[in-house]
């Protein structure tokens, strides 16, 4: 197996749930590091046997506001690496500490300390991903150049921002537009504008199935239940495009920051949107808030010379989780967002044949809409890497790729996925993503509407969010 990079120092992994357990074998396979230099800190014993299998040190310990400084100082120094795949540990606190210590850093989302997603004392705006990202951007400005910290670099957020760049070049090529790869943020945004991109869905359909079926009182998912429930209880958020004719009634702007996104006064776990995936056509997915919705809209913004926004795409997640998770969401809603007493992450019990189909669906270009992404079966995932399912592998290979990029670019400072070279990430990731393909479609959210009942639609702008949200 290719060793893409060498890490001569120590690696501290924080969290060892499905992502931690899935990324460890990939790290040992593709980064030149010995197991004796790897330490895992995890609040529970879940992955201890896996850690033992690979001969890495496993410490059962919850990292808290009180103890994290000491624990990090004991285990990280110049050139070492913190791979943060935990929940309920503040990403920003960790990044700040890593910078002090000269350590590299990667995570898969910007996490707050416990309760940050559901604290009723915080306003919906304050507990949004927009607010978390703004604090990260402020930290980026404050810290400036220095040891690299790649934030929010899993499958999504993360990989999908690279898919989007590849897809834009595909669309350009197919549309007879200059398909030379832009080499600046401004260039990418101008390309999106030139192609008339109006909406970018992160369109995902997970068909993995486990046995036994979900029981009553159980939340079942193909990845972290706490992670999913946490983001599902945050307000729905979406990057808010310049083509949108009107604000949704439940939509709100934030009164601070870059203004690339809005939030809805409702939880993502209760908000469905219309989307499209190649294997099935039109589906309903959940508009769960995700960092990429906000960062993509911000990155692909075109401003005039005075700094006023002249172009921005709408961008949102449209997630159809595995069927057991759909049932779990329904039950969770019935209990007014009180989590089921038991949770289960499907891994070994997944039956053959399921697929995690994750891509970007780009609406607006004259040639039609274009979905581009990964169609990875559970069977492929199992053949490619141990301790993974199709969902986790799309995340873990992206974490691996971000780590390699950080090692290769050790002084990039705090960066978002859109600032990372998509070519290097795709080169490392592609062998693990199953079928990578693009599909054109003439689907619009106005198709087959109003057959039985009148609906409040905007027929003059098919790509208006009003047409996409399910009421």
């Amino acid at each position: 197996m290719t060793k893409h990079a060498a890490l001569p120092g120590r690696l501290l992994m924080l969290g060892f749930g499905s992502i931690g357990q899935g990324v460890l074998p990939l790290i040992l396979r593709h980064i030149d590091i010995t197991p004796d230099r790897i330490t895992i800190i995890s609040p529970d014993d879940a992955g201890k046997a896996v850690a033992d299998e690979y001969g890495v040190t496993f410490l059962k310990m919850a990292l808290t506001r009180e103890n994290y400084v000491g624990e990090l100082e004991a285990r990280l120094g110049q050139g070492d690496f913190l791979c943060n795949v935990s929940v309920e540990v503040s990403s920003l606190a960790l990044i700040r500490k890593c910078r002090e210590l000269g350590a590299l850093y990667v995570d898969t989302c910007i996490e707050p300390w416990p309760g940050g997603y559901t604290d009723p004392d915080l306003s919906p705006s304050q507990r949004s991903n927009y607010a978390l990202r703004e604090t990260a951007l402020a930290l980026k400005r404050e810290l400036g150049a220095g040891s690299t910290a790649v934030i929010a670099h899993g499958a999504n957020p993360g990989l999908v921002s690279h898919f989007l760049k590849v897809a834009l070049l595909d669309i350009a090529k197919a549309s007879g537009v200059d398909a030379t790869r832009p080499d600046s943020r401004e260039g990418w945004a101008a390309l999106a504008q030139a192609l008339d991109v109006k909406v970018v869905h992160i369109a995902e359909r997970d068909t993995q199935k486990g046995e036994p079926a979900k029981a009553r009182g159980e939340f079942v998912n193909t990845w972290s239940v706490n992670g999913f429930v946490g983001e599902g209880c945050q307000p729905s958020e979406l990057g808010w495009g310049t083509h949108e004719p009107e604000m949704p009634p439940e939509g709100r702007r934030h009164d601070f920051g870059c203004d690339s996104a809005i939030y809805l006064m409702r939880p993502g776990a209760g908000t469905r949107v219309r989307t499209w995936v190649p294997s099935e056509g039109p589906i309903h997915g959940w508009l769960v808030t995700h960092n990429e919705s906000i960062s993509i809209a911000d990155y692909f913004t075109v401003r005039d010379e005075a700094g006023a926004v002249v172009y921005r795409p709408t961008s949102h997640y449209a997630y159809h989780p595995c069927d057991e998770a759909v049932l779990s969401l329904h039950e969770f809603a019935g209990k007014n967002w009180e989590l089921q007493p038991s949770v289960r992450i499907l891994m070994n019990e997944i039956q053959p044949g399921g697929v995690d189909e994750l891509g970007v669906l780009i609406n607006g270009p004259a040639k039609g809409s274009y979905w581009y992404g990964s169609q990875l079966t559970i069977d492929e995932a199992r053949e490619l890497a141990p301790h993974n399912n199709a969902t986790s592998l799309q995340v873990t290979v992206s974490v691996l790729a971000a780590m390699i990029w950080a090692i290769e670019n050790p002084t990039a400072g705090l960066v978002e996925p859109e600032e990372v070279d998509e070519r290097r990430i795709m080169e490392i990731s592609t062998p693990y993503l199953g079928t990578m393909a693009g599909y054109w479609t003439n689907w619009t959210p106005l198709q087959d509407r109003e057959t039985l009942f009148p609906e409040d639609l905007d027929r003059s702008e098919p790509w208006a969010f009003k047409n996409i949200i399910v009421h």
Copy 2:
């Protein structure tokens, strides 16, 4: 086994899906009739083997506007019986013909000819169950006294109206109110008013599970998929109580008929409401239109001397179908109500342990809310009767009971379930309904609301529909 009644004439069964196949063995067990006098007409071969097993004549034939007169005249005369458990054959056409021929009649819902539920040329009001019931009431008035036709007498509509009467007497007893059984419609309505009944949910939770799990492109249910999809595409309808402070924004009154119900400008398959069942507590169910919502509200109406309505309860279905059907509904919605290419009714493949919990949940009484109904496991259903699951048995025993009541009361004319003696129906049905029990609860739809987001609630009237519907 007790023969409750004798049918000396012929029995024609129309339709032989899950309900027809389930009721046939009960008829042969509890009605004195020989198989050679029974004929089944069904548009497909689905139940032919079951018909053969019992030695009854099976004719594969679709009954249509064109052929039904001849087919009925050939097979029904004075004292014969038409048991209609078909879909897409007009109940009213059949009732009218039975009256002419002097035959008794039972069905489980008021069916229109094909397309009546989804004809885009009909207004939502015209394709509502309210409109169908009004045509039945007009026919009742037109036909007057004569051979009995019991309409809409399955589990619900049907059995639940009897549960409601039993429950009202239970509540009266527990509340120190006179619990003498009323012997008139006016008496029952006055009792409901005296007990301050505000909302009657038909609260059902089906936990039966089949294997294999639902596939993509498949609609799976524990009873007729066509039946469920048909009513799910009709407008949501509910009996509309006098306590309701305001009309829902999507609510409409009909401009004809008894005015006991409203409809919503949305399909029931896309409308969820908060309800409560004993085994699980609070859940979300679907507000699918059903005849009992309208007939219960009408039957329990109190008018002043001038005929003005002074009291009426809200009444609606709140149906949590089996998990596979929840997933089927989600997929169906994603395709804008275009039915999946394949359908499956769970019967033999149901795993042990599932329950169909079907009852009335009565909100408003000072002592709290009261759920009363049947908790029937698949295992009990299998032990009690062949060719049934828990869902079908609650229907089929009710059809059986209505048939027996019609034989015993052959000149009652066209009657709704509320006009049938609940004591006789409960006597016949109870042995087949598993646990029949009542449960008190202090649940209200305001419990645990607004923990994360503000909601538009009516805190002055907990039982307002505004608090019950899920937005």
